[in-house]
């Protein structure tokens, strides 16, 4: 249906173009217009080179823009993946008797993914933006891991109770972890904005 409407609009524009062409053509019959019916070889060559260059530049630029967009899309997909890893940690810490080893492994994978992302986006951002954004992300990662994987030195502290390698987080500790994970996700959101600017 939409294609038919597009075709209709196209025909209307074509008809308007022909009418405009006829009107302009009429001016060439007037005295104040002089139409040279001869064209030199140099002018033809000049015209062909200009048109050729225009097409060439348009194609190369188009390809470059597409490539850049593809790269940005790829990094945004990578950030989405990191965000879903953070979300999965958020869910995990709310469970009772959760395997601490699984939490450590999740943080291990998350950290490797973060390092790989930050290394590869350096060429896409301005130096100042890159250093501000990456420093914030690194700091937030550090705090997030600390609050989620640090069990108390003081054995009477019950913020995380661990038995047989399985831990249960107190409500207060869960809230603190959620606040840090939100702050981290916010930094990734800012990075996405920077990448699409």
């Amino acid at each position: 249906m939409k294609k038919k409407e597009n075709n209709k609009t196209w025909y209307i524009w074509m008809i308007l173009g022909v009418i405009l062409g006829i009107i302009i053509g009429q001016f060439f019959h007037k005295d104040y217009f002089q139409l040279d019916t001869q064209i030199s070889v140099i002018e033809i060559v000049d015209l062909l080179v200009t048109v050729g260059l225009a097409l060439y530049v348009a194609r190369i630029l188009d390809r470059k823009i597409r490539h850049e967009q593809f790269t940005i899309d790829l990094f945004i997909a990578k950030i989405d993946d990191i965000e879903s890893q953070i979300k999965s940690i958020e869910n995990l810490i709310q469970e009772k008797d959760v395997s601490m080893q699984i939490i450590y492994t999740k943080f291990h994978v998350l950290s490797i993914a973060k390092n790989s992302l930050l290394e590869s986006i350096s060429s896409l951002l301005k130096e100042k933006d890159y250093s501000t954004s990456t420093n914030e992300i690194k700091n937030k990662h550090k705090t997030f891991k600390l609050i989620a994987t640090n069990t108390p030195i003081d054995k009477t502290d019950t913020s995380v109770v661990v038995k047989n390698g399985k831990g249960t987080y107190s409500v207060q500790r869960i809230s603190e972890i959620m606040i840090e994970s939100y702050a981290l996700k916010d930094e990734y959101f800012k990075l996405k904005v920077l990448l699409t600017e």
Binding site: Y104, H141, T151, I153, N164, G165, K166
Partner: protein
Amino acid sequence: MDNIILKIAMDFSRTPGVRYKNEGEFSGEEFRNSCLRPKLEQALSNHVKLIVDLDGTAGLGTSFLEESFGGLIREDGFEYKTLQENIKFVSNENPDYIDEVNEYLKDAYEKKGK
């Protein structure tokens, strides 16, 4: 004598665990007592460095790292300077661990001083 290499994944466990021995398997406390401290003492008596390789594990939690390395100062009474000069940390997989361990050593030293 060459430097002594301690690879956590090979010499202790690929899945290091929690902080204390009574909290579960492969704890930081167990690692410090059975691997880290003996190797460190060996390195110190032979005037060589202890190279701690942090790669190859399935993840190192804050408690494990803090109890292992911070515990050397807090529990075993090692000097911060001695540890700084004689232990070298290596991690190609996740260099964040090196920064973490250095921070825990510094924290333990600062807390001990207070």
